[in-house]
């Protein structure tokens, strides 16, 4: 058996894939062969490293060198210099934005320093298309342990003790859910993995499925054992082709190894998994809607109770958990509930994966212990705000969540603190906003999303959210009135109180939380017809400062709508009624006479 001296790990996640990491992988493999290093150097594609801002990522083991933004053309240099001659390719190393020093080892990067990777433990470390690498890292050991050494109730107790809560947004105790489903009496039961990730900006579930599909398969089998189900379904959106491929490969491998199928590990336990494809409707992340979609019906929610644990897929008891929740399960069984419960805060145990996005230096996927503060996430892991701008707010929980501001920066992040701060955990989207972001526009952006994603079943969500959007749009156009502010508030509360499912009940949260935290911005839009961040185009005014204007006519000549008048060598004026706010005058003026008010 050949023994590789070096491993080259290339990120095969969707983000890096889009930046030609597959071509890079091919190049590396070809050059390794050309150099006769086939037996010594192993080149593999892994799942996502999380540091998507700087992808494609290449990691060289064992010296742990972390290359960023590698192009297919860089392959030759990496092999010839690093692999053959042992000289690191400095230009591809990560540069610390603070002190401008290059960092070779990812462990020393701010992005990774504070992270604790449990759900993402294998992402960026193993070849997701090779079950052996998963097994080598204790894969299926937890399943084996459950099947041979523990009763279903013992496993459930362990899960309850671990304190693992649903990572899809609900935050319901996973162990308790398993217990309820296990106690429902039925000839058939189902395990469903909710992989219908739909939060704008969130992609942790995709990354786990792409980087470590077996962890989800193993956890589903464990869940099946606990609740008495022989069949599992993964509801995954069809827009995740790579995750689907990897899952299919993983399921096939697990079947070949006898880790799925009948009489698993000779214990008489049967379990198999099939995929069901969703069309990417946000509402299908709601478990009843998800189940209806799997049944071939329109993806819309029904009233709970009955909960799926009692009556789910085709009326049978069904346990629905999300991908990230499942990914934690094998580790909990292997390392013990106490270990897991030692991480995190009092009521939120373990870690949480967040998708960092927006105006932040290190955009990517991170996993931190519950209780980490926003400040740590934004400034240490995220590397601070882009271009040295001022932090304004962070939206957590996606369109169902709210915004947190400066005063929340030192709040430890967990389920309950987020709710207390007027937001929610959601599935872990974290969008950072700076001084250039208008909070009214932000609320409008999320309502636009909700209007698009509402299923249309209940009136408050179907029509109410549309009206919320319309009022917000009016505000950003400078046509808002004081009554509109009252309407926003009343409508938001009524929608929260009356909508049928979680989507509708939380959809006004962005409006309410921005109103709570940034009421002055709303009032500025209404009374002063002003948008302080300059994002609301309709509220901007381009003005010519008479003192600076020399009458060169450059602005007038370049104005596409002839809104600028004035004599040569005389002061020019912009007619506000005609101006379309394109900014051409500002760009052309060489005398700093044009400014925005």
């Amino acid at each position: 058996m050949s023994k590789f001296k070096m491993h080259i790990l290339v990120c095969g996640g969707t983000g890096c894939h889009a930046s030609e990491s597959d071509m890079l992988l091919d190049n590396l493999k070809t050059i390794v062969s050309d150099k006769g290093l086939d037996g010594e150097v192993q080149v593999i594609a892994t799942g996502c490293f999380g540091f998507c801002e700087k992808g494609p990522i290449v990691k060289i083991m064992p010296d742990n060198t972390f290359y960023t933004q590698v192009t297919p053309a860089d392959a030759r240099e990496i092999i010839e210099e690093h692999i053959v001659k042992g000289r690191k390719v400095t230009r591809l190393l990560y540069v610390d934005p603070e002190n401008k020093e290059t960092i070779a080892d990812s462990k020393h990067m701010g992005f990774y320093k504070k992270q604790l990777r449990i759900a993402l433990r294998n992402c960026g470390f193993i070849d997701p298309e090779n079950i052996d690498e998963y097994i080598a890292r204790d894969g299926y050991e937890a399943l084996a342990k459950c099947l041979t050494e523990m009763t279903p109730q013992q496993v459930i107790e362990e899960m309850k003790k671990s304190g693992l809560r649903g990572r899809g947004g609900g935050g319901f105790s996973a162990g308790l859910k398993w217990e309820i489903t296990s106690k429902s009496v039925s000839d058939e039961k189902y395990v469903v993995c909710n992989a219908d990730e739909g939060d704008p900006g969130a992609f942790m579930d995709r990354s786990i499925l792409e980087g470590d599909p077996h962890s989800v398969i193993e956890a589903m089998a464990i869940c099946g054992y606990c609740i008495g189900a022989a069949f599992g379904l993964v509801y995954i959106r069809a827009e995740y082709p790579l995750a689907i491929d990897r899952l299919k490969i993983a399921i096939k491998q697990a079947r070949e190894y006898g880790l799925l199928g009948s009489d698993i590990l000779g214990t008489g336990f049967n379990f198999d998994i099939e995929l069901r494809y969703g069309a990417g409707a946000f509402v299908c992340g709601e478990e009843t809607a998800l189940i209806h979609s799997m049944e071939g019906l329109r993806g819309e929610p029904t009233v709970k109770p009955p909960f799926p644990s009692v009556s789910g897929y085709y009326g049978k008891p069904t346990n629905v958990n999300n991908v990230e929740t499942f990914a934690n399960v094998p580790v909990i069984i292997n390392q013990g509930a106490e270990w897991f419960a030692s991480i995190g805060t009092e009521k939120s145990k373990g870690t949480k994966v967040f998708a960092l996005a927006g105006k932040i230096n290190n955009v990517g996927l991170i996993e931190v212990p519950m209780g980490t503060t926003l400040r740590e996430v934004i400034y240490e892991i995220g590397g601070g705000i882009k271009d040295g701008k001022k932090f304004k707010a962070v939206q957590t929980g996606g369109p169902s969540g709210g915004c947190l501001t400066e005063k929340h920066l030192d709040t430890p992040i967990d389920y309950d603190n987020l709710v207390a701060s007027g937001s929610m955990m959601g599935s872990g989207g974290m969008i950072v906003m700076d001084e250039d972001d208008c909070m009214v526009s932000m609320a409008k952006f999320y309502l636009d999303f909700t209007v698009e994603e509402s299923c249309g079943k209940c009136a408050p969500c179907r029509i109410g959210n549309k009206r919320l959007y319309e009022i917000l749009d009016k505000l950003t156009q400078g046509k808002g009135t004081r009554e509109d502010i009252d309407s926003l508030r009343n409508l938001s509360h009524v929608i929260k109180d009356t909508a049928l499912c979680g989507l509708g009940q939380t959809s006004p949260n962005p409006v309410l939380s921005t109103m709570d935290n940034f009421m002055e911005e709303y009032l500025e839009h209404v009374h002063d017809k002003k948008c302080r961040s300059g994002q609301c185009k309709a509220l901007l005014q381009y003005i010519i400062e008479p003192e600076n204007c020399v009458g060169c006519t450059a602005c007038a000549r370049n104005c596409p709508v002839n809104a600028i008048s004035g004599e040569r060598k005389g002061v020019h004026i912009i007619d506000q009624a005609t101006c379309i706010k394109c900014g051409a005058c500002l760009e052309k003026c060489k005398f700093n006479a044009v400014f925005i008010k």
Binding site: M6, P62, G86, Y140, G258, L265
Partner: protein, 132 residues
């Protein structure tokens, strides 16, 4: 690979597979392990650095010592090739020159196992290759 029939089966398969992955596992946490860097520039390779590196890898395995063996560029001591930098957990790195199989064996037995220094240390103007 056939079917995994029992827990024992799974464990056995895992042990076999872990060897393949050990290199990656170790590099996750090299500070707690013995780190050996072999200078593998042209000068080193010409003097037999490749064989020395293989020797270290195989012997650490055989003698059950948790170590990470990596290659590095020219350390600047071309006169003393092959050169090897050894870092014991929590200690300053030490560079050895003129390393062949015999010397390597000495290094493992004496320095790595017992902390006794062996002949051939290059102490002058010591600097690791990587910038700290």
């Amino acid at each position: 690979m056939g079917q995994v029939k029992s827990l024992a089966d799974l464990r056995k398969i895992k042990e076999d597979l872990q060897v393949k992955m050990s290199l990656r596992e170790k590099s996750n946490n090299p500070e707690s392990l013995v780190q050996v860097k072999v200078a593998m520039a042209t000068c080193g390779i010409a003097s037999g650095a490749k064989q020395v590196m293989d020797f270290f890898i195989d012997e650490f395995d055989k003698r059950n010592i948790q170590a990470v063996v990596t290659q590095t560029g020219c350390m600047g001591y071309c006169f003393a090739e092959p050169t090897v930098e050894v870092t014991l957990p929590g200690q300053e790195p030490v560079v050895f020159g003129y390393v062949d199989a015999k010397k390597a064996d000495d290094i493992i037995e004496k320095y790595v196992k017992n902390g006794e220094l062996v002949e051939g240390i290059i102490p002058v103007n010591y600097q690791t290759i990587e910038k700290k």
